[in-house]
């Protein structure tokens, strides 16, 4: 049976750890010709330069060839071709499909249609599992473990798919603690808090972004987007509250690292960049190794 990566919960804890192990291997030795002679389709029904370049670099470093499109305007979807037909056709040509799509559930559907593995590079607001795995690899690398992590999530916790998936993934490890810092209107949805409660995992909610971060091992920042607010006044009230600056990191633990899925706007002040606790650019680089690992795993290359 073919293996896909559609949703972060598709993988077991053992598989998470296997990907971490492979990612470390690719970090030590990024160029390994495991995809030599193979063709990978990179289908971006919605543009995403960052994710696409990370994937395509990973594929190149594995020695694979790439076909596909970078934005929907140059795809057959503009002629009205269904996703079903596009995937049917491409799965005849390629050995693996990496896809990003604006509609939720598109990747799961594609996996049903396709005869070759599908890696979901983001389906609307639903899932972006490779981001979660690179976040986990970044946590593992900086903390030496995925157990006993005190993880602070800051900003838009209501709509941010990256924090939802990371919460689900980290909840399989030993003794995590979650701290959610968000304005009232963007708090972590009930369903995810319920997920933690069912597993007896501790979490705390805060509206104020203060020195409580001194407890943190990881501070995961997200963007508070204006378009998420129905009331512009509400946005004005909170837009400058959830900004991390260097001074705020002074009394934090020495091992704390600041992560952000990028792109950032103003939620991390640029003075943080020079702090040894800033980790978001390295995090992005980890994404490439993690994607090499994910491709190897779903295609059984190693």
């Amino acid at each position: 049976m073919k293996k896909d990566l559609i949703s972060i919960t598709d993988f077991s804890k053992e598989e998470y750890l296997r990907i971490m192990e492979l990612a470390a291997d690719f970090e030590a030795n990024p160029n390994q010709e495991l995809l030599k002679g193979k063709v990978v389709a990179s289908l971006f029904f919605e543009p995403s330069t960052r994710t696409r370049l990370s994937f395509e670099t990973a594929i190149n470093r594995l020695g694979g060839r790439i076909v596909g499109f970078a934005d929907p305007d140059s795809s057959s979807a503009t002629k009205g071709e269904t996703l079903h037909d596009t995937i049917k056709m491409v799965s005849n040509y390629a050995d693996l499909i990496v896809m990003r799509h604006p509609l939720e559930g598109a990747a799961r559907y594609a996996a049903e249609v396709s005869s070759v593995p599908i890696i979901n590079a983001g389906d609307g607001a639903n899932q972006h599992p490779t981001q979660t795995l690179l976040d986990m690899y970044s946590i593992l690398k900086t903390q030496g473990t995925l157990d006993n992590i005190n993880l602070f999530m800051v900003g838009d916790l209501k709509f941010g798919r990256t924090v939802h998936s990371l919460l689900q993934a980290m909840s399989v490890f030993e003794n995590p603690i979650f701290n959610f810092i968000a304005p009232e209107s963007l708090q972590m949805p009930r369903a995810y808090k319920h997920h933690l409660e069912e597993r007896g995992i501790r979490y705390f909610e805060h509206e104020e972004f203060t020195d409580i971060i001194s407890e943190a091992d990881i501070i995961y920042m997200t963007r508070v987007q204006k378009e998420r607010f129905s009331d512009p006044m509400e946005y004005e009230k909170v837009k400058d509250v959830y900004i991390l600056n260097k001074a705020m990191l002074e009394n934090t633990k020495p091992n704390v690292r600041v992560l952000h899925p990028l792109p950032r706007v103003n939620e991390i002040a640029t003075d943080v960049d020079s702090s040894e606790k800033a980790y978001y650019f390295e995090q992005a680089l980890n994404g490439m190794f993690t994607r090499e690992a994910i491709i190897s795993h779903v295609m059984n290359l190693k």
């Binding site: 996703l83 079903h84 799509h101 939720e104 559907y109």
Partner: protein
């Protein structure tokens, strides 16, 4: 006394059948959806139905009698989402031979529309599929977009 009279009249309104199935306690507003889900509009059996009948539990209820038709459990459970209190009497030779209640299945395939407008199933011809994650109130998790359709958001396809 008045209530008993009412019951008698109700029985008269929907005539007895020799063999077949009586589906009772359908919320009146769901009658036509039940007919459509069970495909009763497409078969040639004799069917009688009554609607807006008085019912203590449901307010206004509907009842359907289908001659010479016996439903499989899988088939009948499809109506559980809109008529969770429906009761079936299986009639053989004018007698109630068996009684059945509907049960909400664990998986709902193809009947319900995903409430998420950005779900792929609302954009391409795809059979919807939900896992029933709660029964009271009903909550359905879409296999595709993973969003949860709550009881008050359920719309039939």
């Amino acid at each position: 006394m008045e209530n008993n009279d009412m019951k008698k009249k109700l029985k008269l309104k929907v005539s007895a059948i020799k063999d077949g199935t009586v589906i009772d306690h359908i919320p009146a507003k769901s009658l036509f959806e039940v007919i459509s889900i069970l495909g009763l509009d497409l078969i040639e059996n004799q069917i009688t139905f009554g609607t807006n009948l008085e019912s203590g539990k449901l307010g206004a209820k509907a009842i359907i009698k289908v001659s010479d038709k016996f439903f499989e459990n899988d088939e009948i459970n499809k109506i559980a989402l809109i008529a969770p209190h429906a009761k079936l009497n299986i009639i053989r030779d004018y007698e109630v031979a068996e009684k059945k209640i509907v049960e909400i299945p664990q998986k709902i395939t193809g009947i319900v529309k995903c409430f998420n407008p950005k779900c792929i199933t609302n954009h391409e011809k795809i059979t919807t599929c939900f896992k029933v994650i709660n029964t009271n109130p009903i909550a359905l998790k879409c296999k595709y977009c993973e969003k949860i359709t709550a009881e008050d958001q359920i719309k039939m396809l």
